[in-house]
Amino acid sequence: MNVPPRRHAIEELTDTGLDAKTLSRMLADTWGTRPGLMGALTAVDHKIIGRRYIVTAFMFLCLAGLAAVVMRVQLARPESRVVGPDLYDQLFTMHGTTMMFLFAVPVMEAFAVYLVPLMVGTRNIAFPRLNAFSYYVYLFGGLMIWVAFALNAGADTGWFAYVPLSGPENSPGKRVDLWAQMITFTEVAALAVSVEIIVTVLKLRAPGMTLDRIPLAVWSQLVTAFAVLFAMPAVMIASTMLIMDRLVGTHFFNHAEGGDALLWQHLFWFFGHPEVYIIFLPATGFVSSIVVTFSRRPIFFYVGMVAALVATAFLAFGLWVHHMFATGVPQLGSSLFTASSMLIAIPSGLQIFCWIATLWSGRPVYTTALLFVLGFLINFVAGGVTGVMLASVPLDTQVHDTYFVVAHFHYVLIGGAVFPLLGAVYYWFPKFTGRLLDERLGRWHAATAFVGFNLAFFPMHILGLMGMPRRVYTYQPEMGWGPLNMLSSVGAAIFFVSFVMLLWNVVASLRNGAVAGPNPWDAGTLEWATTSPPAPQNFDRIPVVTHREPLWAERDALPVATGLRVGVREVLVTTATDATPDIRETAPTPSIWPLISAILTAIAFIGSIFTPWAVLWGGVPVGAALIAWFWPKGDPEDY
């Protein structure tokens, strides 16, 4: 009874003497996901989960984008009657909430889930079952809030749900409860992914990938994961407090009983400002990858780029109070926050300088991906300028809550993150699918997006200075805001069309795009050393890294490590700084339990909106499912 199952010969077989074909086939067998429904529901391959994450995040972009289109139709003319005030409240809340929590952060993590294991040269993400669980939790949270919206229970208190508006007195009903639970869902997912990424980067790097050979895209995901780790707990505590105030009568934010409304703002922005960098830092990683590959030279001043990433993340935590200048924070405090808000321009400036220097001294190839990066540089600088303007208290109090702010954060979010993301789509699509996107249509897409975006959002600066407040469902013709709003709506329509072009390009290229081959761009990092799309095992033999751009350094043959087992899922664990090989760990096999655990977790979370006891009776099955998840089932990997 006390002896684990004996190992069979196949489980001891290593890759050492095998020829390439046999090795590849055997590994694909060991690491593969079964076909059919059961295979899909039990999948733990980071590429499958990553792909689902990416597609789901883009679906939420689509929903939030449609909400934006309705808002722009409504605002195009004064005294328009397309939607009423209550629906408008739900629209901007659903738009902002979805964009931030269900699109921007998850899509960056989705790229990390897919790319980081490939870029560091390993076979799966660390804790792959947790990864599957996180995806389902995220999906259920997003579905929940959109189903609620369809049932006229959409959140309506803005994406930061300020109390007392969102408190029990002013927002009766279930709308805000659903919003608060959606936060819990998405943050659980984000925190899980951040732990996986940190461990993947620290422990699963290919031998020889010392700290100074880690690709910048991976560095940016690592730094982001740390920022998530320290930022997201704040909003989880905050949303828990809010839902408890609403459901079980606590008084965290109730002034009459010693609570405080500003406590919400502090907790929310302690997360909310780093949130912007959680979105932006991975985007800088995309930019670095694209700039390096298409400049045909290594990045200019690598160490400075890494330092800038780390500095940005640190400073991001010192900035939250700048969202609260209008609340009258003490004088000295607010000067400090102004200073650090301006300080953060330094690392961003350094990064921009290094990208330009790399392009300047290289031989740039202007692919669509690089065009999106150029668009990013222009838009982001504009957003940064208005950001530094807003960091000054007197100006901020003037334009606070006007369209100037709406313009600013769309320049930062779309210019700073969505443009690089679109570049990343063009850049890595061949790796994901094996086919290239059409470059000609791509150029049209890039141009349309750039024009549409600027037309949609530049006029909002002026509208803000003219005094148009945000979050109004309509305005009187006498205000004179009509023409600029019309211009902005036309721009939004063009921007929308640009996404239709992308969709068209994706669908058409999936069917008959040019076949990519392993490395269509002649790039230098490890994800391009394997087939497109990669086989289930990612690499037949784990690469050994000798250079920051390993594929440029080793043109004729890739140095590799041998000696891993082929009949059992095994990954190579290396040391955290030097990446010297240390142990061979087994990796988890497919399992249905992450899905079941996620379903039960969703039942407990949603149930708790209706009765607090759901936390207890819902928690017990979750615990049972987790035990089933971890209990060894006799696979060789379990022993």
């Binding site: 031998p207 505590i237 209990w631």
Partner: protein
Amino acid sequence: MRQRPVLDVSSLPDFAFGPRSTMWWGTLGFCALEGTGFAIAAGAYLYLAWLNPQWPLSAPPPALTWSSLFTVLLVASAVPNWLVQRAARRQDLRAVRLWMVVMSLIPLALMALRAAEFPALMVRWDVNAYGSIVWLLLGLHTLHLVTDAADTWVLTALMFTGHVVGKRYSDVSDNAFYWNFVVASWLPIYGLLYWAPRLA
């Protein structure tokens, strides 16, 4: 792409303890994020205390009896916890089993003490903001206590059934590492909830 073998890893061990394993880093990650949660909640406590002229709000500071017994037992549990970790590193099955049983029973006693603790707070969560934040902090810590207890029970069961292999010892050692976090995170909370209002 052609391959050129330069390194053979077949002789590497298939498990290791502490920072050499991925599980240890994962555990550390969760400690970091949960620790941040505690710090944020403690920050909220201090913020509310600083805001209100009187603190605790219309309630005496919580009684010391149960909480102090709890603290003593919790700190004392670090000793068998250290022993189980040492036994795991030696891969000494008998000792691991013995101390895992002890480490499975201790949380039961702790949970009983905790159950007695909530009424002894002398304030309900829905009376005022002070009650709310005290219950939140205590609730958060209880959640950690329960999760790690459950984890310990499962591991103990594994060590008594046909699942004992090298890496299971490493799991035992990581579980003990997490328990240290449960102990360490309690001490500041204990000081904040029970002593700070008395000293201020």
